[in-house]
Symmetry: C2
Subunit: 141 residues, 2 copies
């Protein structure tokens, strides 16, 4: 049992720390409003500068919603990445908030890092350019 | 390198499978609109029936937003849980969508499972009663 004294504490991270933490890529979660409220999809992503890039299918209801939403102008999305050790109650989370957009063909990155893990067509490349980057680390003093 | 033939495939899960997968509790992510677009906070949660329960602080900007948002009536939130093996590209994700609400005092569950991991006050108990449960498993055939 944790006592209050040995409980982990939350510490705010600055934008540079956040970008470093998410730079290896992997699994993140994109949150957006599909017209019926917030929804969340896990995707595998890569980082290019300060932007997050991932691919998504136009198959499936959630993915279709995402693609449809992002054809609108200035759509706000959030992108969350965390690595939390559930045994030790330690880890970090990073949140990017900003506009999501389809990448035009000539800006599409190549390379395995943005290959989507599931099979099937994943034609839409999405880029999130954060206007806001925040993060927190949970750890023991 | 994966070839298309050995890529993992996505399979839809039914509500019962989803609830079973999330029933042990642990870390999930709550998504809500704070008035400036979608945002996401990782929390540790417990399951009671079909509802997800977690506690949140009134400290910190995101947490304050969440608490404020949930004082409104019929606020739509999403709650996402996933366990994805980044090496094997296998795992599952579950998404609950529904109304989030503060739990009244007499309905607050007791027990370590809803003790928040970070120290500090976590006075608000939040319950999400899903109107919609969906999930997907990513695996190799």
């Amino acid at each position: 049992m944790n006592t209050p004294a040995d409980r982990p504490v939350l510490e705010e991270l600055d934008a540079a720390e956040c970008l470093e933490l998410i730079s290896p890529g992997g699994v993140g979660r994109v949150a957006f409003d599909d017209g019926e409220g917030p929804t969340v999809i896990p995707v595998n992503y890569t980082v290019e500068g300060t932007a997050v890039i991932f691919r998504t299918s136009l198959e499936g209801r959630l993915n279709q919603s995402l693609a449809t939403v992002l054809t609108g102008a200035a759509v706000r999305v959030a992108f969350e990445v965390d690595r939390i050790d559930e045994e030790r109650h330690e880890g970090w989370s990073v949140l990017l908030r900003g506009g999501g957009e389809h990448l035009p063909d000539h800006e599409r990155p190549t390379g395995a890092s943005v290959e989507p893990w599931p099979g099937g067509d994943r034609p839409a490349y999405i880029r999130i350019e954060p206007q806001e980057i925040s993060g927190r680390r949970l750890g023991h003093r």
